[in-house]
Subunit: 202 residues, 2 copies
DNA sequence: ATACGAATCCCCTGTTCAGGGGATTTTCCC
DNA sequence: GGGAAAATCCCCTGAACAGGGGATTCGTAT
């Protein structure tokens, strides 16, 4: 077992918890993806537990690299609840499991066993809101003009103001605006901007 | 010393790290604010280290409660880098120090000493990006009611709908809304939600 | 005790938005 | 060149919002 995280605290915590699980042997820890690769090369662990958000190289990229170069090594991704939207990316890049940083010892144990047997493990709290998961992945597809208009709306400009900036009729801007509302499945500007912010579009 | 965090892992990690500091004695841990209050009452620790984001009652509210009811107990706030925007709120609510979860043992030691002597401690990484600090400081101070209203606006509810939810008149909601617009220095909902998203308020 | 902020409530006016309904031109791919 | 999607334009109605103006109550901190 190899643990990767840029927070010493999480490293310590994870180590302590893992040391209480009989069948687990921690071969090392790493503070970043470079160290992680070194450790994988040196110790050939069965499983790597890695944080997602790390400076320079993210856990997602690390997972991809491990899958490509050390196919036998399984990866379990770990993140905070707020970063749960990266799950799909993580799984696409070869993660065999996903746990929240709020996990208990029992859940870690379960996850490790599960992954060791070649199955996919997901934190229970995550299974619940599947519709949210799907929703996260499906950020609506916007045309370039719609994106322009969305940005200007978010800046607080009104339809007439936007029309002037884009050298088009206010009616046109309003059309785009309505399409945006439809695509985001909201019914006013507040909801629109919130969704857009969520997807990082503004 | 009392440690408060909803993640068992962080709890373990922090405990391990603190146990390596000679002059520190950890009297207990708590998984939420309720437990924390109990522990404070029972053990009267010198310092409480608390996470900011916790279910039900946040670290911010916990800090306020401790300051009001157990003035002699100092609080050190702890959060991830992404949650750093709460610093100002935390300090306003009586936190004597602020550390990132990515801290090393050395920094924790420094922070504890510093706070114990009655000084204010801030993680070094935070001092650096001052323009961001300014941004944080210029995040308008909202009342609790305003925050509630802001959240509901961001969910796409209209004034009448919000009024119904909060059992107040639509006029009242509109007043709060107008105050929000003023405080954020914007002149419509779009700008409001964008700013709010920027400060992590929605 | 009182002064202040927070929260509540009310009104008026004009603008903007939301939800319908259409139609025409551009652009770009097959 | 035909077709589809994008972008443009237009109208109508009613709801919601924005920007003013006020006023009262309630707690709490000084």
């Amino acid at each position: 077992m190899l643990i990767v995280d840029d927070h010493p605290m999480v490293l310590e915590g994870m180590q302590t918890m893992l040391s209480q699980i009989s069948f687990v042997h921690t071969v090392g820890v790493a503070r970043n993806a470079y160290e992680a690769i070194e450790q994988v090369k040196a110790h050939d662990p069965d499983i790597v537990i890695t944080d997602i958000s790390m400076p320079e190289i993210s856990g997602i990229e690390l997972a991809a690299k491990i899958r490509n170069e050390y196919a036998k090594v399984k990866t379990i991704a770990m993140s905070t609840f707020n970063e749960r939207s990266y799950i799909s990316q993580m799984v696409q890049n070869g993660a065999a499991g996903y746990i929240l940083k709020s996990v208990s010892k029992e859940e870690i144990e379960e996850a490790i066993l599960c992954v060791y047997e070649g199955k996919l493990y997901m934190s229970l709290e995550l299974e619940l809101n599947k519709q949210e998961q799907q929703r996260i992945n499906t950020a609506p597809l916007l045309t370039s003009r719609e994106k322009e208009v969305l940005l200007l709306i978010s800046e607080g400009f009104t339809n007439p103001q936007i029309a002037e900036k884009l050298f088009v009729s206010p009616y046109t801007v309003d059309s785009h605006r309505k399409n945006l509302l439809t695509k985001f499945e909201v019914n006013n500007t507040a909801g629109l901007i919130k969704q857009a912010a969520k997807y990082g579009l503004v």
